[in-house]
C-alpha cells in the first residue's frame, strides 16, 4: 500500500489537503481533507438581532464576503417579506460583479496560472512575465474598486444592510468606476488571450452533473429562485425553499466527512456550471472569447472551470459597465433602506457566489431574533464532486509516479477554486 499526501494544499483559501491510497496500481481511496477549525458561526448568531447577522456571517469567508453578506440580507428580507427597490437590486448585482471580478482575477492569475507555467507563485512569475501579473492585478483591483464604491470596503462590505444601502454611490464615484471599467474591458481581451495561450490541461475526463441558479434575466448572480441540475441527458429543477433536496448530507464510507449529493450523484457548482445551465448568455463578444478558449459545453473536464472563469470575468466587466451606464442614465436616487418590520418565520436565499451556489436560511422569532441559521457553501457542495474528479485523475494517469499524480491532483483541486474556510460549514475531516 502506498499513500500520496498533499498537505497543505497551497494557493487556495484556507487549510486543506488531499490523501490518495494506492495498492500497487489500484486506487483504494481518495480524500479531500478539510483541516480548518470549526468556528460554529451558525450557532453563534442564535439570539442575535436581524441587523447583526450579515456582519457576523460574512466573516465565514473573506473572498466571498460580499456574496455571504448579500445572500444573508436576502434571506432575512425574505423572512420578513421585504421587497427592496429596483435600484437596490441593481446596486447589489453590481456589488456581486465586483466581487466576482476580484475573485476570478485572484484565482486565475495568482492561484491557478502559475501551475500551467511551472512557477510556484505569481510573485515568482512576475520576475519573468511582469506584464501578465500586472494585468491580473489591474483586473483584481478593478473588482475591489467596485466593492469599495458600492459595498464600502473590499473585504466584508459594510454599506449593504437590511432593506438597502447605508449610502448610495455619488455621481463622481460612478464616473470614476466607468473609466476604470472601460480600461477593464480592454484588459479582459488581453486576459482571454493569455488564458487561451496556456498549455492544455487534459488529464481528467468525467461525466459531470452541474448545478446552478436558473436566472430569470439573461444572467444574474443575485436574482432567481430555482436551481437547475443538468447532466448529459437529464435535468431537474429545485425551488430555493427545497434546497435540502440537493444538499442532503450523505455519509461516505472512506471518510467521516459528509457530502452533498443529488439523488446519490455528486454535482459541480461554479463558473462552468453557471455557463452550462444558462447557455443563453453565451452570445456576441463572449461567444468569440469562448471560441478562442476552445471551450465546448457541456464540458467533461473540470479544468475547464478555469476557462469558464475567464469568460465570466470578461462578462462581469461588460455587465458592470452596462449597470453603471444605466445608473448614470437614470440617476441614482438617495434612497434610504426600506424600514424593517420583523416577524416570525423562515427565509431562504440562494445566490451564485464566485465559487457557485450559496444558501443562507434563517428562522426568526417575532422580535427579529435568530432562532436557527443554516449556511451551505459552494465548496461544501463541491467536495463530493472534487473527490470524484480526484479519483478520475488518478485512474486516468498513465504515469504512475507520485510527483505527476500529486501535481495533477493539485491542479484539479485549484480548478475548483476551493474556499476551505467556507467548506468547513458542512464538511469536516474527523
Amino acid at each position: 500500500m502506498s499513500t500520496i499526501v498533499v498537505e497543505p494544499l497551497a494557493r487556495v483559501e484556507g487549510h486543506g489537503g488531499i490523501t490518495v491510497e494506492l495498492e500497487g496500481d489500484t486506487l483504494k481511496s481518495v480524500r479531500f481533507d478539510v483541516l480548518e477549525g470549526a468556528r460554529l458561526l451558525e450557532t453563534l448568531v442564535r439570539g442575535k438581532r436581524y441587523d447583526e447577522v450579515a456582519p457576523i456571517l460574512s466573516r465565514i469567508c473573506s473572498i466571498c464576503s460580499a456574496a455571504h453578506t448579500l445572500t444573508s440580507l436576502k434571506a432575512t428580507e425574505n423572512a420578513f417579506g421585504i421587497r427592496v427597490s429596483p435600484q437596490t437590486e441593481l446596486l447589489r448585482e453590481l456589488l456581486f460583479r465586483g466581487e466576482s471580478i476580484e475573485s476570478h482575477a485572484l484565482h486565475l492569475f495568482l492561484l491557478a496560472a502559475p501551475d500551467y507555467l511551472n512557477y510556484p507563485s505569481a510573485i515568482a512569475l512576475a520576475t519573468d512575465k511582469p506584464a501578465a501579473v500586472t494585468l491580473g492585478l489591474r483586473l483584481k483591483k478593478l473588482g475591489n474598486q467596485i466593492q469599495e464604491t458600492i459595498g464600502g470596503r473590499a473585504v466584508h462590505p459594510v454599506n449593504a444592510i437590511p432593506g438597502g444601502f447605508g449610502r448610495v454611490p455619488a455621481f463622481d464615484q460612478l464616473i470614476a468606476l466607468r473609466s476604470s471599467l472601460m480600461q477593464g474591458a480592454s484588459d479582459t481581451d488581453a486576459m482571454i488571450d493569455l488564458i487561451a495561450s496556456l498549455p492544455a490541461a487534459d488529464f481528467c475526463h468525467s461525466d459531470t452533473l452541474f448545478a446552478a441558479l436558473r436566472s430569470p434575466h439573461l444572467d444574474s448572480y443575485y436574482s432567481g429562485d430555482e436551481v437547475m441540475l443538468l447532466s448529459d441527458g437529464s435535468r431537474a429543477i429545485v425551488p430555493a425553499a427545497e434546497y435540502r433536496t440537493f444538499t442532503a448530507e450523505t455519509s461516505v464510507p472512506h471518510s467521516h466527512a459528509k457530502h452533498s449529493t443529488f439523488r446519490g450523484t455528486p454535482f459541480m457548482v461554479g463558473a462552468l456550471a453557471r455557463l452550462t445551465v444558462n447557455p443563453r448568455r453565451l452570445t456576441g463578444r463572449l461567444a468569440v472569447a469562448m471560441k478562442r478558449l476552445k471551450l465546448v459545453l457541456p464540458a467533461d473536464n473540470p479544468m475547464d472551470n478555469n476557462k469558464a472563469q475567464a469568460l465570466e470575468l470578461q462578462n462581469d466587466v461588460d455587465r458592470a459597465l452596462e449597470i453603471i451606464e444605466q445608473l448614470l442614465r437614470e440617476g441614482v436616487k438617495d434612497e434610504r433602506p426600506i424600514p424593517v418590520q420583523p416577524r416570525a418565520g423562515t427565509g431562504t436565499a440562494i445566490t451564485e457566489a464566485p465559487r457557485g451556489l450559496l444558501v443562507h436560511s434563517y428562522t426568526y422569532d417575532d422580535e427579529g431574533r435568530v432562532l436557527a441559521a443554516d449556511v451551505i457553501t459552494p465548496t461544501a457542495m463541491n467536495a463530493a464532486s472534487m473527490e470524484l474528479h480526484f479519483r478520475r485523475t488518478v485512474e486516468q494517469c498513465a504515469e504512475r509516479d507520485d510527483a505527476t499524480i500529486s501535481r495533477r491532483l493539485q491542479m484539479v483541486a485549484r480548478a475548483y477554486d476551493p474556499c476551505i474556510s467556507c467548506s468547513v460549514h458542512l464538511v469536516r475531516k474527523a
Partner: protein, 248 residues
C-alpha cells in the same frame, strides 16, 4: 544588507487579512521586492516551513490544538511576531461565546462525529504566545498595514491611533448616529484607524476593530441607557468581535 525574511500565515479565520495584503495591488510588487517571502502557502506552493524568519505575520485565531502547535512553531522561528486582524489580536467573531458547551455545539452542527473533532474555544494569539505587534481590523486596513511594514523595515515603532472611531467620525463632520438618531453605534468604544468607515456611510459601527483603551465606559453606559438600550444587548454587541476576558 540582505532582505528581511518574512512568513505570512493563517490560523483559523476567513483569510481576510492575507487577502488584504494581496489587495495592495499597486504596491504588491514593490513590497515583495523589499522583503524575502519564504513561507506564504496561500500564495505560493514553494515554501520553506522551517527557516528562521525576521518577521512572521499571523492572522486568524487559535481554534484547534493544531493551530496552537503551529503558532508555537512560528513563534520559535521568528524574531518579530505580528498579529494581523481582529481574530489574531482579540479572538474575533468565533470568540464571542467562549463559555458555551463546545461538544454540544459541535454535535449540533456536525452530528455525533463532531464531538471527536479537534476544537478548542477561540483564543487570541497573545493568549498562547508572546506577540510583538498587534494590527487589528476586520480586515486590517491596507494603508495601516503598509505603514507598519515600512516602519518595521526602517526599525521604527509603528504608530497607531489611540482614540475611538468617534474622533475620526467627528473629523468627517458626520451626524452622530448614537446621539442624533438613537442607533446602537459602537464608535465610542472602538479603536480608530478605519477613518470611521461605517458611520460615514450612515451605518452604525459594529466594533470590528476591537476596543479602544481609554473608553469612558461609565459615561457611555449612561448614554446607551438614556437611548433606551438594554444593558445586556449593548454588552453583547460591544463584545461581538472581542470577548471581555480578552480585553480586560
Amino acid at each position: 544588507m540582505s532582505k528581511p525574511t518574512v512568513g505570512i500565515f493563517g490560523l483559523t479565520g476567513c483569510a481576510g487579512d492575507q487577502l488584504t495584503i494581496l489587495n495592495c495591488e499597486d504596491r504588491l510588487l514593490d513590497l515583495v521586492a523589499l522583503i524575502d517571502i519564504r513561507d506564504f502557502s496561500m500564495a505560493s506552493s514553494l515554501n520553506n516551513e522551517e527557516c528562521p524568519l525576521d518577521v512572521a505575520l499571523v492572522e486568524g485565531a487559535v481554534l484547534t490544538s493544531h493551530d496552537a502547535e503551529y503558532l508555537k512553531a512560528i513563534r520559535k522561528r521568528s524574531k518579530t511576531l505580528v498579529a494581523i486582524g481582529t481574530c489574531a489580536v482579540w479572538g474575533g467573531v468565533a470568540a464571542m461565546d467562549r463559555g458555551a458547551d463546545r461538544g454540544k455545539l459541535l454535535e449540533e452542527v456536525y452530528g455525533e462525529a463532531g464531538r471527536g473533532y479537534d476544537s478548542v474555544p477561540a483564543q487570541a494569539l497573545h493568549e498562547v504566545v508572546p506577540v510583538d505587534l498587534n494590527i487589528s481590523g476586520c480586515p486590517i486596513e491596507k494603508e495601516q498595514f503598509l505603514a507598519a511594514i515600512a516602519a518595521l523595515l526602517n526599525g521604527d515603532p509603528p504608530i497607531y491611533p489611540e482614540y475611538p472611531v468617534c474622533t475620526e467620525c467627528r473629523m468627517r463632520e458626520n451626524n452622530c448616529l448614537l446621539i442624533e438618531r438613537g442607533e446602537l453605534c459602537c464608535g465610542p468604544v472602538t479603536v480608530a484607524g478605519c477613518n470611521a468607515r461605517c458611520p460615514d456611510l450612515r451605518v452604525p459601527c459594529v466594533g470590528c476593530r476591537g476596543p479602544v483603551n481609554d473608553a469612558n465606559a461609565a459615561s457611555l453606559a449612561a448614554v446607551f441607557a438614556e437611548k433606551g438600550f438594554d444593558r445586556a444587548q449593548v454588552a453583547a454587541r460591544l463584545r461581538t468581535f472581542a470577548p471581555e476576558e480578552v480585553t480586560a
